[in-house]
């Protein structure tokens, strides 16, 4: 548990791929219970930043603390154990498995029975499996997938697949949820539904970090926003301040060429 109440603390974090510095000297922190959005043009290092925070990639330099723990030397499964769940930009689910089975895989960290109990099919094992099934159904309820529990994840509509991914990440009951562009390919109404879902998840005590391009969603749902451009943090703060900031507008629309006037 963090002593400062901060969920994520980044200090001068840099990630270099050879000569390319995808993330440069980024410093910010995320407080408990926030919905914190990371925005920026394509290739600005947002997804790389998420990969650093979730332990998928090691940082080149700087310090990353998640729920108060230094995660620089941890790999992704160890970071998830601290209480971090995540989804990916290109929605990743286990397509051959049913939606319920996907959620059950997501409960991996909550499993207490081992191989021999599974072999003996002990009462404890059966009871635990039943409990995981029940908890998984509750989580499908939260994300609105209860009616699709028995369908194969690869066969549910695109808009719902992202929810399968969210259900999987939530199934471990994380304290921090990283969502990489959850609205990719969604229609207007579906974006609104997702916004409501994010608030519901936050109200259950989960801190959310969000990479997003749909500015209306970002403005309405975020408590704070960080803007990346070419790997550097150019602005951070509340939605109204950030989205009206000159540097942000410039990063998205390009510089107004002064010589042309």
């Amino acid at each position: 548990m963090s002593t400062t109440g901060l969920m994520v603390e980044l200090e001068t974090v840099t990630k270099a791929f050879g000569g390319l510095r995808a993330v440069r000297d980024v410093t910010f922190s995320v407080g408990r219970g926030e919905i914190f959005s990371v925005i920026g043009p394509n290739g600005s290092g947002k997804s790389t930043l998420f990969n650093l925070i979730s332990g998928v990639l090691p940082a080149t330099s700087g310090s990353i603390r998640v729920l108060g723990r230094d995660i620089r030397k941890l790999r992704s499964h160890q970071v998830s154990r601290i209480g971090v769940g995540r989804t990916f930009q290109t929605t990743q689910v286990f397509a051959d498995k049913t939606v319920l089975e996907n959620a059950m895989v997501g409960r991996h960290l909550r499993v207490k029975t081992g191989l021999w109990q599974a072999q003996a099919r002990t009462g404890f094992f059966r009871a635990e499996e039943a409990r995981h099934r029940e908890r998984s159904m509750e989580i499908l309820d939260i994300v609105g997938l209860r009616d699709h529990a028995d369908r194969r994840a690869g066969q549910v509509p695109n808009a719902l697949q992202q929810r399968v991914a969210i259900a999987m990440a939530l199934a471990n009951e994380p304290e921090l949820l990283l969502l990489d562009e959850p609205t990719g390919g969604l229609m207007e109404q579906e974006v609104l539904d997702l916004m409501a879902l994010l608030r519901r998840i936050r109200d259950r005590g989960v801190t959310i970090m969000l990479i997003e391009h749909k500015m209306r969603l970002v403005r309405q749902v975020s408590d704070r926003i960080a803007v990346l451009n070419n790997g550097s943090l150019i602005c951070e703060g509340g939605p109204d301040t950030v989205l009206n900031d000159e540097r942000v507008v410039e990063a998205y629309l390009g510089t107004v060429d002064a010589s042309s006037t």
Partner: protein
Amino acid sequence: MRQGSKTALTIAVALLVAVALPYVVTNDYLFHLIIMAVIWSILATSLNLVLGYTGLLSLAHGAFFGLGAYTSALLVTKCDWNFWVTIPPSMLVAAAGGILIGVLTLRLEGHYFAVSTMSFGIVVSLILEKWDDLTEGPRGISSIPAPTPIPLFGLGHLTFESDTAKYYLALAILAICLLFVWRMIHSPIGRALEAIRQNELLASCLGVDLIYYKLLAFSFSAAMAGLAGVIYSTYITYLNPVDAGLWNGFYAVMYIVIGGMGTFLGPLVGTLFLVTVPEILRVFQDYRLLLLGALLILTITFLPDGIVGGLKRLRQRRTVGAMPPR
């Protein structure tokens, strides 16, 4: 419930057929083939755990098979151990081989992993061939006795001299292995293994320790392959380094690919198919292998997920087609 009772009925019928088989099959050669098919099924089932469910192409299973076979045969012939007592150490030696090669190579991906396991297989058969003092080198170990009789508390002994008795022994071991794999796959561990096969990145972000679970699957699979080797050694009564070579591992891969990778019954179906079909093709004499090759290519082309996978898809399509219109 209906699904459950259907499964129970299928299992009961299969068991009945398997138990009745020695009384139906009178041809000695055919019976020999059936026993071999049961032993290869144990090996293929062990490989299915890593290749089918976890997605690791191991070419070292011939070596694990050989390690189990040699350990048991040496302990029985040279140390006069009771056959049954040799089973745990034989499985442990095979598992140790699995852990050793696993620790060294499980960080490697795809082809690199496959090639490394193949090299391990070559090393094992070379050691068995060159370590003459222990293994009798290329001459091999002969006159391996049948399993030690089990006393039945005043009711005489349960002996394993006859082929029929050895068949029942192999069958019982196969059943135990199938039950083990079934329960492993239908548990959180199985979910983690299948998650690894389908998407390692996603699995690790859900908290699955990739190396730990791969090593777990690999060591149990190796132990089971070793067990298949133990049964082989006592049935065939003669071992040489070829029995621990690459070919048994390659055949096991082929049984699984033909039967259906990652399906529970695929290894059995594939083994039965590939052990019996070449015999049926004997009527074509010289063209036998040519036809077998063509048959394999056709199977892989038209049934990419094997015989069992193909049947599954067929059934799915039928159920979808049978759905009432909305």
